[in-house]
């Protein structure tokens, strides 16, 4: 359960961005969560709801988009895109793969109220 540390980092980034825009209120937050990011979306939601109280984002809506694993095969060159964890090329079965996406966790965008 390291999701609370991740959400602490999220609030540091969000508060910094809100400050740059002179905003006192964050109304919407969108996260992109890779299936191999190591974070569980449901636990991120719980941690967000606990953390947001008495912050600029106390009424913010959190949206989480799961990012599938995107693998490029170094043998046959084809792309494999999967929502679950696979470690073989979907075309030739090779395990000689480059991971292109699905391992990160990032704040994609947010909505602010501006005076």
């Amino acid at each position: 359960m390291h999701e609370l540390s991740l959400i602490t980092n999220l609030f540091e980034i969000m508060e910094q961005k809100a400050k740059e825009k002179n905003s006192k209120k964050i109304t919407y937050v969108k996260l992109k969560v890779g299936v191999l990011s190591g974070a569980v979306p449901e636990l991120l939601e719980t941690a967000f709801d606990i953390y947001k109280k008495e912050t600029l984002a106390s009424d913010a809506v959190l949206e989480i988009e799961k990012v599938p694993l995107k693998l490029k095969c170094k043998d046959c060159g084809s792309l494999t895109i999967k929502d679950d964890l696979v470690f073989n090329c979907g075309t030739c079965g090779s395990t000689n793969l480059e991971t292109l996406d699905g391992t990160d966790l990032y704040l994609e965008k947010m909505e602010l109220e501006i005076e």
């Binding site: 980034i13 961005k17 704040l107 109220e113």
Partner: protein
């Protein structure tokens, strides 16, 4: 009052990655190979370090950063071997992060060869946090069962080496080494595999050779 949407595209682990990158660069400049040891609690990380301290001495100098939720116990075990050790008590956190490692960084002697970082015993959360290591090694012990790699894939996906530990228990427990290794390699074909027993001392030499090979590689890349 109007609403404005802004694109951010910032990694939630960005600050950790930045600190880890600084640690990796500084260690690399000093020619120190840092190894992050990951496993569930009780897989034998500290016992492996005790054994390594015997085998690496006197030719190589090592030190250890110990991560635990509470107590100084592991650091005391390492110090009893005459090895410098720092205990980081995370106070409840399930993993070490780069900032915690950064706090003891100034105390690390420049003439080290190996800096081992023993992570909090947990096969899940530590896998997400880069500590600035050059090598990440995951231990899987015989009592845990041979089906763990696919149940906890990220630890295996992000590691450089898989260490099957406590092999002295193989005749007492139904653990299929080939299955465990194959599952690990299915997730990450680049894993180097070692089978060790810290009690009997088997496999330690092979792992030490692997560490020395990587130390030389790190120093060659500096030259």
């Amino acid at each position: 009052m109007k609403k404005q949407e802004i694109m951010v595209l910032e990694d939630l682990l960005g600050s950790n990655k930045k600190i880890a990158g600084d640690i990796r660069r500084k260690l690399s400049e000093k020619g120190i190979l840092a190894i992050n040891l990951l496993s569930s609690p009780g897989a034998g990380k500290t016992s492996l370090l005790e054994k390594l301290s015997e085998v690496l001495s006197p030719g190589y100098r090592m030190a250890v950063i110990e991560g635990d939720i509470e107590t100084e116990r592991d650091a005391e075990r390492i110090r009893a071997k005459g090895i410098q050790a720092w205990q980081i008590s995370t106070g409840g956190a399930c993993h070490l992060d780069a900032k915690m490692v950064g706090k003891v960084f100034s105390e690390i002697p420049s003439d080290l060869d190996f800096l081992f970082i023993e992570n909090v015993g947990n096969l899940v959360c530590p896998a997400s946090f880069d500590l600035g290591e050059s090598l990440r090694c995951v231990l899987l012990s015989i009592p845990e069962g041979d089906d763990k790699p696919k149940k906890y894939p990220k630890a295996f996906f992000t590691s450089n080496a898989l260490i099957i530990s406590k092999t002295d228990l193989l005749d007492k427990m139904p653990f299929n080494v080939d299955r465990a290794v194959q599952e690990g390699l299915d997730i990450n074909p680049k894993l180097e595999v070692f089978e060790i027993s810290s009690v009997e001392g088997t496999g330690i030499r092979e792992f030490v050779d692997y560490l020395i090979k990587n130390l030389k590689k790190l120093r060659r890349s500096n030259a």
